[in-house]
């Protein structure tokens, strides 16, 4: 069918090409589009898959077109004999349509495998960052260089442009304080995916996977957990903020600073945080080197979003969250106020509500208290 009419072949090629171009052209600029690559890895994947899609569209058109063609062309109708020739098979053509797909696949396989190995190579001269997936938020750890302690942050991954970033993906980092390997809430599989920068890589408890990011375009890229990880899998977002190396360095050193306001000097907020509502069971505001059960808040105010990047960091939003987090993002946190996570009898995944479902004898948070806490947190630049 194909070689009899090469003009038709070219027509198909055109159509297939047009279809794929249309695909890219109509695609939304949504910060998550795999067809709008801004990272090396994502670029390479697009370059690989476009030609393959074109081949696929051609094969698809041949088969779908062929199906419609044979159905209509050989339709029983008045004037056409209903006594067709009985063809039982034809070895030659059968061998042909075994071999042609085999050849096509072989051609596809070569660049595929070469890119697999290319992606796997350890990047040279890379910035190392550890990414920790937890139920249902992301923690990012920048190892401390020359004796400096590490920097731990959450929800927003800062990277310098023009450099290779070597991400170590873990479900928990036992080398950091409180990075209890078996702590509840950090023991399931997640998947780290920033579509416009790179393909995804799973975070598998018990092993460390690697992913290389590289982009030359500064900007904010959206990411999301791609592996189903329980109740709030859908809400496990994050963003990647690519900055010029100087801006990145400045950011990193500001993160290394001791928090602007110490807990001791925070007055009532300190009491609320450590005693009344025991926020400090799960968070810290006094050291950006600690990995805690909940996100490290030492420099919360330097972020533009919070709660897995789900909300803009504004005071009113933060107050709502502090008072009743599970009302905004579903979590299994009914027990969380009964004791620090991991203590026996406490089934706690996420952050409790401080206004609802309050255990006996524990205070219910007032709006005023929430405001004090929010003000305090927002002072932590």
């Amino acid at each position: 069918m194909t070689n009899r009419n090469s003009r038709r072949g070219r027509w198909w090629l055109l159509l297939a090409g047009a279809a794929t171009v249309a695909l890219a052209a109509c695609s939304p600029a949504n910060g998550k589009n795999t067809l709008a690559p801004h990272g090396t890895n994502a670029h390479q994947i697009d370059n690989l898959i476009y030609p393959i899609w074109i081949v696929a569209v051609i094969v698809g058109l041949i088969v779908v077109g062929g199906t419609i063609f044979v159905a209509l062309r050989y339709r029983q109708r008045p004037g056409r004999s209903d006594r067709p020739k009985q063809i039982h098979g034809n070895l030659t053509v059968e061998i042909l349509w075994t071999i042609i797909p085999a050849v096509i696949l072989a051609v596809i396989a070569v660049p595929t495998i070469s890119l697999i190995f290319k992606e796997d190579a350890t990047p040279s001269n890379a910035v190392e960052v550890t990414v920790v997936g937890k139920q249902w938020w992301w923690e990012f750890e920048y190892p401390g260089a020359n004796g400096q302690p590490p920097v731990v942050t959450a929800d927003e991954l800062h990277i310098p442009t023009g450099r290779n970033i070597d991400l170590s993906l873990k479900a928990c980092d036992p080398s950091l304080p409180y990075g209890v390997n078996n702590g509840p809430g950090c023991n399931v599989i997640h998947s780290f995916w920033v579509p416009e920068l790179a393909g995804k890589e799973d975070v598998v408890p018990g092993q460390t996977n690697h992913l290389t990011l590289r982009t030359s375009t500064a900007g904010t890229y959206l990411g999301q957990c791609a592996q189903y990880c329980g109740l709030s899998h859908a809400n496990m977002h994050f963003r990647v903020i690519a900055q010029s190396p100087t801006a990145y360095d400045a950011w990193l050193s500001s993160q290394r600073q001791v928090p602007a306001v110490s807990l001791a000097s925070a007055g009532e907020a300190g009491t609320l945080f450590t005693k009344t509502f025991a926020c400090s069971n799960c968070h810290t505001t006094s050291s950006s080197t600690l990995s805690t059960y909940g996100p490290n808040l030492s420099h919360l105010a330097s972020r533009s979003t919070f709660a897995s990047g789900y909300f803009k960091l504004t005071k009113s939003q933060l107050m709502k969250w502090i008072m009743n987090a599970p009302g905004l993002i579903p979590m299994q946190s009914q027990d969380c106020r009964k004791g620090p996570p991991g203590s026996p009898g406490v089934t706690c995944v996420g952050m409790p509500s401080f206004t609802q479902n309050t255990p006996k004898g524990m205070p219910v948070m007032t709006t005023a208290q929430a405001q004090i806490l929010a003000t305090y947190l927002l002072s932590l630049k």
Partner: protein, 644 residues
């Protein structure tokens, strides 16, 4: 026993049985005790379609929730249960049983047997399927339905309830329920294999068997070897959750990837378990409505077998992003691409079958043609997934969801609907309405593509799967809305089918033995076939044996009707005639049902073992089960009266 002439009155020594031997072969109760492969086939089919509606309603809920950004139809917790149950239902309670329904009904008829090899085991398999399904669905009322996804990845599902990784007892129900269904499908598989190998009519050599029978044989072997693997995986999940082990709990050294390997070692053969029957049905329909033999029968058969073998070597393509390392990943990428070759052979042979034929576009034929076109689209998106770097973008996105609905719905379900239209006249003696059928088909094609093509784009545009909500501003809203509209069009088309089936069963045109001018011997007996299938076991002389009684080829290979062909040939008359002698069929039995019912309390006891009353369930279930098995073993296959 409608067909048995008056039975002798004297009763020989009876074995000690407690339940009276059931005799009814008609009426409501006969359905509970029947061992007739055709009745069981109908029961499988109806039950599977009921589950299809349940799974479909779940799908509609999913679609309603996702119709626009930040949907509020379902809560997160409900959504997770719904999509898990949707996948589980469609795979285990629709796909497998509906294929088994066709196998049950038609494998014996197509190979010229009176029944399957193990009629009572057959009934038992059916009852396991029903109890397993009921058990799974009862979880909605008893502490939450399964919510770990249809492949229930550990450690999410295997983390003990008390640690709270996943709310509810769903995963317990899931693990136990799938094991129950596994018991049922394993018995069905053994039955299909033994029946096909052992019960063929004289002259029915393997290479004369209809392709559908071949594909069911391959499917049965896949089931036989795949089921034990997932059973072990689920046992370990269950132990982790309930007995303090840590097979898949990394905190104590367990390896979550072991689970993934075991699951997909089952799971990938499973997808071929689902598609091969569909391919078999299509291979039956196309020749009949093209008035041409299947193009390259041996090649189609062997490529089916090749798919069966190759299907075992590709499982890790579901794990490309788990960090297997480049060598393993490359190997599995290659083996996955390899499967496209035998599959492509089938596709092209089917097209060549229709090519230059004399095509009748009946509804069945339309569904078969729809299968070819849509399955190919799904298969090609599968090849895109096999390209590992691309898969790292597409994995766990709606691209995958689109891929597998194209192969599962566009392939399997279209094939099964084709089979329903094709064989309905044989089963019920009346034709399905063709006009409604065409509406059914076209609405389904339109709805199907409206639903699942946008999903391919959504995946490419970055939408992950298994999310109960997405933000506005991501540009996914309109495509999702289209998909939702499409899914309701599918629902309308399914509704049309149900109406068609219900109405036609009563008022449809009388079909006669051979309404389609069929090729294979199931069309030589009456519609519906008598309990004993053939008054006389046919002697098979060729592939497409019935066709040869009606037609021949002239020297140029052109079709020529035989003057005395058709239903008037001696063979056909004999096959469909009233029997001239007594044919004893296996008698109905209570015990398969009893045994299956015995397993049900045991299953509940497994889930609720920590409650003090659970031992009552264990005791009760064990007693019922033991009684069922012993009575079954002692009871003769054929009732005592019929023995002499």
């Amino acid at each position: 026993m409608t067909t048995v002439a008056d039975a002798p009155t004297q009763t020989p020594v009876r074995p000690p049985v407690i339940l009276r031997r059931p005799k009814e072969t008609t009426g409501v109760w006969s359905w509970f005790t029947t061992v007739d492969h055709k009745k069981i086939g109908i029961m499988y089919g109806v039950t599977a379609l009921v589950f299809f509606c349940l799974g479909g309603i779940e799908a509609l809920l999913i679609r309603l929730q996702l119709a626009g950004p930040n949907g509020t139809v379902l809560t997160a917790s409900q959504y997770n249960q719904i999509f898990t149950m949707h996948g589980t239902t469609m795979v285990f309670l629709l796909g497998m049983p509906l294929s088994i329904a066709f196998a049950n009904y038609f494998v014996p008829l197509m190979i010229g047997a009176r029944d399957v090899a193990f009629p009572r085991l057959n009934a038992f398999g059916y009852w396991m399927f029903v109890t397993g399904g009921v058990f799974l669905y009862s979880s909605f009322l008893l502490g939450g339905a399964p919510n770990g996804g249809w492949f229930g990845y550990t450690p999410l599902t295997s983390t003990p309830l008390g640690l709270g990784a996943l709310p509810g007892r769903g995963p317990d129900f899931w693990a136990v329920g799938i094991v129950m269904l596994g018991i049922g499908s394993t018995t069905a598989a053994i039955n299909v294999i033994v029946t096909t190998l052992n019960m063929r009519a004289p002259g029915m050599t393997l290479m004369r068997m209809p392709v559908f029978v071949w594909m069911m044989l391959v499917t049965a072997f896949l089931t036989l070897f795949a089921m034990p693997i997932i059973t072990v995986a689920l046992i370990m999940v269950f132990f982790d959750r309930n007995f303090g082990t840590s097979f898949f709990l990394p905190a104590k050294g367990g390896d979550p990837l072991l689970y993934q390997n075991l699951f997909w070692l089952f799971g990938h053969p499973e997808v071929y378990i689902l598609i091969l029957p569909g391919m078999g049905i299509v291979s039956e329909i196309l020749p009949v409505f093209s008035r041409k033999p299947l193009f390259g029968y041996p090649v189609v058969v062997f490529s089916g077998i090749a798919i069966g073998f190759l299907g075992w070597g590709v499982w890790a393509h579901h794990m490309f992003t788990t960090g297997l390392g480049p060598v393993a990943v490359s190997a599995f990428s290659l083996s996955t691409m390899l499967i496209a070759i035998p599959t492509g052979v089938k596709i092209f042979n089917w097209l060549a079958t229709v090519y230059k034929g004399s095509v009748r576009l009946t509804t069945a034929m339309l569904f078969a043609l729809g299968f070819i076109a849509q399955f190919t689209i799904g298969g090609l998106s599968g090849v895109s997934l096999a390209v590992v770097p691309a898969d790292t973008q597409q994995h766990d996105s709606y691209f995958v969801v689109s891929h597998f609905h194209y192969v599962l719905f566009g392939g399997l379900v279209f094939g099964l609907f084709g089979g329903l239209y094709y064989w309905f006249p044989k089963v019920f003696g009346r034709m399905l309405d063709e006009k409604l059928g065409k509406w059914n088909f076209w609405l389904m094609v339109i709805g199907f593509n409206l639903t699942f093509f946008p999903m391919m784009l959504l995946g490419i545009y970055g939408m992950p799967r298994r999310v109960y909500r997405y933000d506005a501003g991501l540009g996914w809203g309109s495509l999702n809305l289209v998909a939702t509209i499409g899914s309701f069009i599918i629902a309308v088309s399914v509704l049309l089918f149900i109406i068609n089936a219900v109405v036609s069963r009563k008022r449809g045109v009388i079909a006669g033995n051979d309404p389609w001018d069929g090729r294979t011997i199931e069309w030589s007996t009456s519609s519906p076939p008598p309990e004993y299938n053939f008054a006389e076991i046919p002697e098979i002389q060729a592939r497409d044996d019935l066709w040869h009684t009606k037609y021949t080829e002239d020297d140029d290979g052109v079709l020529v009707p035989l003057p005395s062909g058709g239903v008037d040939t001696p063979a056909a008359t004999r096959a469909a005639a009233a029997p001239t002698h007594r044919i004893h069929m296996p008698s109905p039995s209570f015990y398969p049902l009893v045994a299956a019912l015995g397993i049900l309390p045991l299953a509940y006891a497994a889930v609720f073992h920590s409650y003090s009353w659970a031992f009552l369930l264990v005791a009760g279930g064990a007693i019922i089960l033991a009684f069922g098995i012993y009575a079954w073993a002692i009871e003769p296959a054929t009732a005592a009266e019929a023995d002499h």
